[in-house]
């Protein structure tokens, strides 16, 4: 049955289901070469000439490029003396071991050009590793750079084209995917992801959910166990991946796929209903977190009332230059106008950490999560910040818009940002531009220090929104994409619950609304506690909305207050989690089984 030399069937691998649904398709291996992707797939014998030609052209382009670079360096240039290294790279590109070796690999292994380049470069660099001389050993870097240059050409990265098209029915298998990688994936050909790294709250998981693509993460070494072209089943609800499924298994999963589809359909009816507790005492505004303009329709279809988090950094990603004011204005205007009169909360650029936009030329940092990112980056590059603010303030004239600042850690940063916002307003007024001067300003509370001084910050803003993903990461000192420690990442850690309660109380005392836009808000297990703490403004991944609305409509405030009281009496995350999950399982057995069991495992 299976077409690889591995003759076992129905190999079951268990990971964490992070985005529901079932997919049956063909494995495509994606490896990261520096920041980019090297897609891998199997080709037919008749495609060999085409792949070889793609490779030859990619090398030719690389050689031409190196020659151009070299010719532009003047003899008096500081580099003038070292241009020989460009000659070395040209010779490496033309070297038989690399050039003929790659072509031979394509033909003998029947793989695409990118895969062949990655393999051949890998083999050559491995040989260099055996050299003892440190200087000569370092030359492995040169062949690596050369390979990378060819890879970029193959994948069309120097032009604006996105990642090379995947064959239809692809299931992406990878060690890790950055949000930038994920952002470039084409939805029409990709059915699912199965990833070694990451947990439920990694950005890949978040994006898989917003792309509505089934995904399983935390599979440890699946990228080594699966070969390109293998038939696989991915069940994003239970976190199960099956390699080489037999016809029986495929039949069962086709059935499950159908059940899942029908369930989703039935759930959708809740999206259209208001989110108010059964006793009618506590109405909740449910908004959507989005990253792309084209998600607005989907968000509304799933029942969102406005956008609680528009992640603007995706406008900055996957490109060389920075988006212009007009380009940004157009994106914001579309989202704001579409949702009017419901509010749209625009988060100013939150680039940095694992989301860095290449166009910003940020120097590599040893600890990007604690580095130059978000508001720090914006205050450090006022032009960049002002361009975005101009676009937002102009777009705000088309509906109900709020500005939200990410990563604020002290009052000084907030005051500096406010000053820039006022400057931009004066400039827009002086230029006679149409804009909305009374845009509400809020903070994304995600740094523990900001939570601690919430009372001091509250005086300066109109609203708070708690960004739980980063807040938990910073408060618990856990990198949520580190597979060795992310088991410690728990939304229901007593410390997290206490921080959230604190912010909620400050908001009440100071009279400013407190919302939540982290993943925590969209996970049904947390919702009773959030209601119990008084939250009336939740923003989440659009796909989570129907289930959260269903839950809110089924519970009473008394029930939520009682669950909250009991949870606050417990002193460890796990018992709290188990307690709330048991409650969820009992109250919503069908939903729990279909959409939640795997995700919570």
């Amino acid at each position: 049955m299976p077409d690889s030399n591995n003759n076992r069937i129905n190999i079951l691998v268990k990971g964490i289901g992070v985005s529901g649904g079932v997919a049956i398709g063909q494995a495509v291996l994606v490896e990261r070469l520096t920041s980019e992707l090297a897609p891998r797939w199997i080709i037919n014998a008749e495609d060999v000439p085409r792949e070889v030609q793609r490779f030859e052209e990619a090398v030719e382009t690389a050689v031409d490029r190196l020659k151009t670079i070299k010719n532009h360096i003047q003899p008096q240039h500081p580099l003038g003396n070292h241009t020989y290294i460009l000659d070395t790279h040209i010779l490496l590109l033309q070297d038989r071991m690399f050039y003929e070796g790659t072509k031979k690999y394509i033909a003998s292994e029947l793989v695409n050009a990118e895969w062949a380049v990655a393999e051949v470069v890998g083999k050559i660099t491995a040989t260099f590793d055996t050299i003892e001389d440190e200087y000569l050993k370092e030359r492995a870097r040169d062949i690596y750079f050369v390979g990378e240059r060819v890879m970029r050409n193959l994948m069309g990265l120097s032009s604006q084209t996105k990642i090379h098209q995947m064959p239809p029915n692809s299931i992406i298998i990878s060690h890790d995917l950055s949000p930038a990688d994920t952002a470039q994936i084409k939805r029409e050909s990709v059915l699912a992801f199965a990833i070694d790294m990451g947990g439920r709250t990694s950005h890949t998981a978040i994006m898989a959910r917003s792309l509505k693509i089934p995904a399983v993460t935390g599979l440890e070494n699946i990228s080594h166990r699966i070969q390109a072209g293998d038939k696989i089943v991915v069940d994003g609800s239970t976190g199960v991946v099956i390699v080489h499924p037999d016809p029986d298994t495929i039949f069962r999963y086709r059935e499950r796929q159908e059940i899942y589809r029908k369930y989703q359909e039935s759930l959708m009816t809740f999206g259209r209903l208001p989110a108010v507790t059964r006793d009618g005492s506590h109405p909740v505004r449910i908004a959507a977190n989005i990253e792309f303009v084209d998600e607005i329709e989907m968000a509304v279809n799933h029942g969102s009332e406005g956008i609680g988090l528009f992640r603007t950094e995706y406008l900055f990603m996957g490109r060389q230059d920075l988006p212009s004011e007009d380009e940004q204005y157009e994106a914001y205007r579309q989202v704001i106008a579409y949702n009017a009169p419901s509010p749209v909360t625009i988060r100013t650029l939150d680039a940095g950490a694992d989301k860095i936009a290449t166009s910003l030329n940020v120097a590599p940092e040893s600890n990007p999560a604690l580095g130059m990112r978000a508001i720090r980056l914006c205050l450090g590059h006022p032009d960049l910040f002002k361009t975005q603010l101009r676009a937002v303030l102009r777009a705000a004239a088309h509906g109900n818009c709020r500005i939200m600042l990410p990563m604020i850690s002290c009052l000084t940063e907030l005051l500096a940002a406010k000053e820039i916002i006022e400057e931009v307003k004066s400039e827009l007024a002086a230029a006679g531009k149409q804009f909305q001067p009374k845009v509400k300003l809020g903070l994304l509370l995600e740094v523990p220090s900001a939570v601690a001084i919430a009372d001091l910050l509250a005086k300066e803003v109109d609203f708070f929104s708690i960004g739980t993903n980063d807040l938990i990461q910073y408060a618990l000192a856990i990198d949520r994409v580190n597979e060795h420690v992310n088991y410690l990442y728990d939304t229901l850690h007593p410390a997290v619950l206490r921080m959230i309660r604190h912010v909620s109380r400050v908001g009440e005392a100071r009279g400013i609304p407190v919302g939540m836009c982290g993943e925590m808000a969209g996970d049904p297990v947390n919702v009773p506690i959030l209601l119990g703490l008084g939250f009336a403004d939740l923003s989440m991944n659009p796909l989570a909305i129907p289930m959260v609305k269903k839950l809110i409509r089924s519970v009473s405030m008394d029930e939520c207050l009682e669950l909250t009281r009991q949870a606050f009496e417990m002193s460890e995350a796990r018992p709290i989690h188990e307690f709330l999950e048991a409650w969820l399982r009992e109250r919503f057995p069908y939903d729990y089984f279909l959409d939640y069991a795997g995700a919570a495992a």
Binding site: T88, D133, Y135, D142
Partner: protein
């Protein structure tokens, strides 16, 4: 394709500080492309094409090590002399 003629060989010592490094290997390949003869470099029993920069680098010929240059073809003697000039030359600030 094969070059006719006598096989010439010469043993030489790597003179510059960094060994048969990228710059020398590059210069060697560029120079050898002007010769029609077949030239190889042997070190510790490993024989590589003198027109392959990867091959030359992978020889890991460190300063002071000995290599054997073997050439076959019409301009063999000149090719070997060119290589000797390149590897025995002591470059003070080679990179």
């Amino acid at each position: 394709m094969t070059c006719d003629g006598e096989v010439h060989e010469k043993t030489m010592t790597i003179g510059n500080q960094l060994g048969l490094h990228a710059r020398v290997a590059t210069m060697m390949v560029q120079a050898m492309r002007n010769f029609s003869c077949h030239v190889t470099v042997v070190k510790d029993g490993v024989e590589v094409d003198a027109k392959s920069v990867l091959g030359l680098l992978l020889l890991a010929a460190t300063p002071g090590s000995q290599i054997l240059v073997r050439a076959q073809g019409p301009d063999s003697v000149k090719a070997i002399e060119e290589i000797r000039r390149l590897v025995e030359h002591q470059e003070p600030n080679a990179n």
